[in-house]
């Protein structure tokens, strides 16, 4: 019985008292990717792995593994475009999010 299922609201006997959230980082379960109208598209070939997009992303949505960028967390990316704007190699471009095309 997860407290974090957005579709299920629990009764007062089933939640901790005092408005306490008893574990850290539970927001990762909330998919802010749904907010996007545009999304960043990453060109691996152009990328110099400078990690500026990583340090400037408000939503921690630049996926990095073993010190190398591997992609974008589309479940959480809000499509703000900071990564595209700040990328020194123009390796990220903003496109209309697929859910809006056609």
């Amino acid at each position: 019985m997860s407290m974090f299922d957005v579709n299920k609201k629990h009764g007062w006997k089933d939640i901790p008292i005092g408005g306490i959230i008893p574990e850290g980082g539970t927001a990762t379960k909330y998919k802010t990717g749904e907010w996007r109208t545009e999304r960043p598209v990453w060109d691996k070939e152009k990328c110099s792995q400078c990690m500026l997009c990583f340090i400037f992303c408000p939503d921690n949505s630049i996926e990095v593994k073993d010190e190398k960028m591997v992609g974008i967390d589309y479940e959480h990316c809000k499509g703000c475009g900071i990564c595209a704007k700040e990328c020194p190699r123009a390796a990220i471009c903003m496109e209309t999010d697929p859910k809006y095309s056609e």
Binding site: K9, I15, G19, I20, P22
Partner: protein, 393 residues
Amino acid sequence: MGKKFAQTGTTAVALAMKQINPDVVAAYPITPQTAIVQDFALFVANGEVDTELITVESEHSAMSACVGASAAGARVMTATSSNGLAFMWEVLYIASGLRLPIVMVDVNRALSGPINIHCDHSDSMGARDSGWIQIFSETSQDAYDNVIQAVRIAEHKDVMLPVMVMMDGFIISHGIDMFEILEDDQVKKFIGEYKPGFALLNPGKPVTMGAFDLFDYYFEHKRQQAEGMENARQVIVEISKRYSDLSGRKQELYRGYYLDDAEIAVVALGSSAGTIRDVVDEMRAEGHKVGLMSPRVYRPFPNVDYAEALKNKLVVGVLDRSDSFGGNGGPLYTELRSALYEYEKRPKIIDRIYGLGGRDFKAEDARSYLDELMEIAGGKKQYSAVSYLGVRE
């Protein structure tokens, strides 16, 4: 055998705090609470307690720091009065909403304006909806006893609510009276150790306290808070019993003086009970069946216990040392009246607002009230259900 003192009420409270030895005290001075924190500061300076004292820059910060320290997992205490309590008003609600077992002494003093530094109950009555447990003390001895019990009541896992212990400003806080204290290790054993369910000082298990509730969860959290307050009814009775056994001093929900067979009863919170007792003695000697009820617990309001004690009286005269403007009576009166509503046969109940801003309440005032109550019991029809006792017309 405890040590006996002839000292002020603030000294009694400071000694209780010393024996409790809380982890943190955050306080700001305001008359007539000042001596409590001054005494305590000297204990800290002389290494007689292990407490970290935060001399904050306002009462709002005092309660805020108490919230932070309690949330961190520490045992926390503070004290204030009057406008100090009023200034921390929003944080009172947060302390109880976040279920933090803070213990605070409120030395009852009138609220401004105009400014007055003397005793009435308007300050703590203003906080009666805040979710704090409220316990009144008649004497310095009561204040000492109540503060120690408050720690156990607040920290009980079925309660987890902050507690405020009241004592009358100047009358009790600054008046010299006899009181007896327990041994240090008796207090230490009675209060035990504070073991919070959740605490900030546990980085391995990060918690978020004071989350943002939307309309989908606030109500549930408040319902839980109400449940804590309901559980406090029984917890207060249990802790009072344990303390009675320990101290040899009976801790009750209310004190009845010639109450059981009384036809006429006066109800008063705080130190006025002492004055009224003398008048009851005098009138009993004259053959009048009068009595006194002095309540100790105000929140959770023991409506059943108090109503049961008063239901068979002919007339009940309440004395409210605070007003609720436009409220058709003071708080004690309206709550007792509501408690008695359920009974088919119930007494006439009237209210006199008295003693505001430290207006002295003398034996002759108590006598005149009791005389009037007797007239009402005797059939007098013209009387005010709610009016003021002791104000110059």
